[in-house]
């Protein structure tokens, strides 16, 4: 079966790139893109970087204009949520009450920011996921707060802290782990991330949690698990993301920390998923994974779109086996990582040094090259990423001339 029409739920990066891939592949049936946000697809990475710093206006984050979208012949239904889907009847229910019977379905509903367990709501308390979130945070920064507390030193938290500190505002970062990003990059590199924050004048508190956000209407302070209290006019919570897959509970699709797909991104006949919301077995790493990276959203959406078009018997369904890759910009450091790294993997510095904060470190398991982390070494990271793709051994990668 090849779809005669395609409905894409989630009008952001993965949704848009999926629609473009369908058209590139020659699909000329109707494409409808349903999106909860009021905006046409825009780019999120600048929200914690150039948009938050004030360098870029909001419209520079746009990924497509309405004219280009009509040229692509994609109908966008914005400010519309998909409430439910039923696989057996293929009925998609929308927040405006309409029930669409869909043919091909592409799920690209992404993820949302995790909030503090108490679910507090106060003026001055922010998460950063959407353009609207960023506009709200930006407006609070324009009121010259005396101190901002960032909860969580993961990638978003670290970038937010870096951007806000660069604006000349005092920042405290609270991180429950021993080191920022220790779980992703390992404690050795995590410790360097911590040093970088401190050198820039950020008040970094590690190994402590948040007990409460204090304030009436507006945030006044953050009480920490070690008993201390930090005054703040603005608090940004960056403690991870949750896939937007609840709306598919009871649909007949498997919802398990995202939408579970097969190796080829197919979730059910005529249904594919891609981007932050998709979980699938990546054969290259022998691991069922869900990847919250910008580049994956594009690559997976492209793969999933083609999968939807070529799913009949006899059509070659190729497995999706990418080497995950992402970047994060913090202060003047460009951090990049490719592959999959686990605690216990062995590691080896291959270029530069920790002291100059410019280096690449390789990670290996048995004799396999599994990952690479680079600080201000973008070219090296890409070279080693190719070696991971090519299945180069750890020893050969270490001795390679890059």
């Amino acid at each position: 079966m090849t779809a005669r029409s395609v409905t894409i739920v989630g009008a952001a990066l993965a949704g848009l790139r999926g629609a473009e891939a369908l058209r590139r592949d020659g699909f000329d049936g109707p494409i409808t893109m349903v999106g909860e946000e009021a905006h046409l697809p825009y780019d999120r990475p600048p929200l914690s970087k150039q948009f938050l710093s004030g360098e870029w206006p909001a419209d520079r984050t746009s990924l497509i204009g309405s004219a280009q979208l009509s040229e692509l012949d994609v109908a966008a239904r914005l400010s519309t949520r998909a409430e439910s889907f039923e696989l057996s009847s293929r009925v998609l229910e929308l927040s405006d009450g309409e029930r669409l019977v869909v043919d091909g379905l592409m799920i690209t509903t992404g993820s949302r920011a995790r909030v503090l367990p108490g679910g507090e709501r106060m003026t001055g308390l922010h998460v950063l996921r959407s353009l609207d979130d960023a506009v709200g945070l930006r407006a609070d920064l324009d009121r010259s707060p005396s101190r901002v507390v960032v909860v969580g030193a993961g990638f978003i938290g670290a970038e937010v802290a870096s951007t806000i500190k660069t604006l000349g505002i005092d920042v405290t970062v609270v991180e429950a782990g021993r080191n920022p990003l220790g779980r992703v990059l390992g404690d050795e590199i995590g410790a360097i991330c911590g040093e970088i924050h401190r050198e820039q004048g950020v008040d970094l508190r590690t190994g402590v949690g948040v007990d409460a956000i204090e304030g009436a209407e507006r945030v006044e302070a953050v009480r920490l698990s070690d008993g201390s209290r930090v005054n703040a006019d603005v608090v940004v919570v960056g403690i991870g993301a949750i896939p937007n897959s609840e709306w598919l509970r009871g649909s007949g699709l498997t919802v398990d920390d995202g939408i579970l797909c097969d190796e080829t991104c197919l979730a059910a006949p005529g249904v594919v998923a891609a981007g932050d919301v998709a979980r699938w077995p990546n054969r290259r790493f022998g691991e069922v994974m869900r990847v919250e990276h910008w580049d994956n959203a594009i690559e997976q959406a492209t793969h999933a779109a083609l999968r939807l078009m070529h799913e009949g018997p006899g059509d070659e369904a190729t497995e999706f086996t990418p080497v995950p890759w992402f970047w994060s910009d913090q202060y003047d450091r460009k951090i990049q990582m490719a592959g999959r790294v686990r605690p216990g993997d062995r590691s080896q510095l291959v270029t530069g040094s920790f002291d100059e904060r410019r280096f690449a470190v390789l990670f290996g398991r048995s004799d396999r090259l599994m990952g690479v982390v680079g600080f201000n070494r973008p070219r090296h990271v890409m070279r080693y990423k190719s070696m991971i793709t090519d299945g180069v051994s750890f020893a050969d990668a270490v001795s390679a001339d890059v």
């Binding site: 473009e20 590139r24 990475p45 580049d295 594009i298 970047w327 973008p378 070219r379 990271v381 890409m382």
Partner: protein
């Protein structure tokens, strides 16, 4: 078509080079060089892929 790179945005991560090594080259000096600024129209979809996959939105095409 003419390829234009905004070097203030480019961070030399060589994503484009992986897609079109015949057009983009990040050399050992860590700078990006555009080897062919005017690839023929038959390369359009590859060039579009470079534009889309550049994480810094540093590549644009002028027709």
């Amino acid at each position: 078509m003419k390829i234009v790179v905004d070097y203030d945005l480019c961070e030399s991560n060589a994503v484009c080079m992986q897609i079109m090594p015949e057009v983009f080259e990040v050399r050992d000096d860590d700078f990006l060089y555009v080897l062919d600024e005017n690839p023929g129209d038959e390369h359009r979809s590859k060039v579009d892929e470079c534009v889309n996959r550049c994480p810094k939105q540093a590549i644009s095409v002028q027709d």
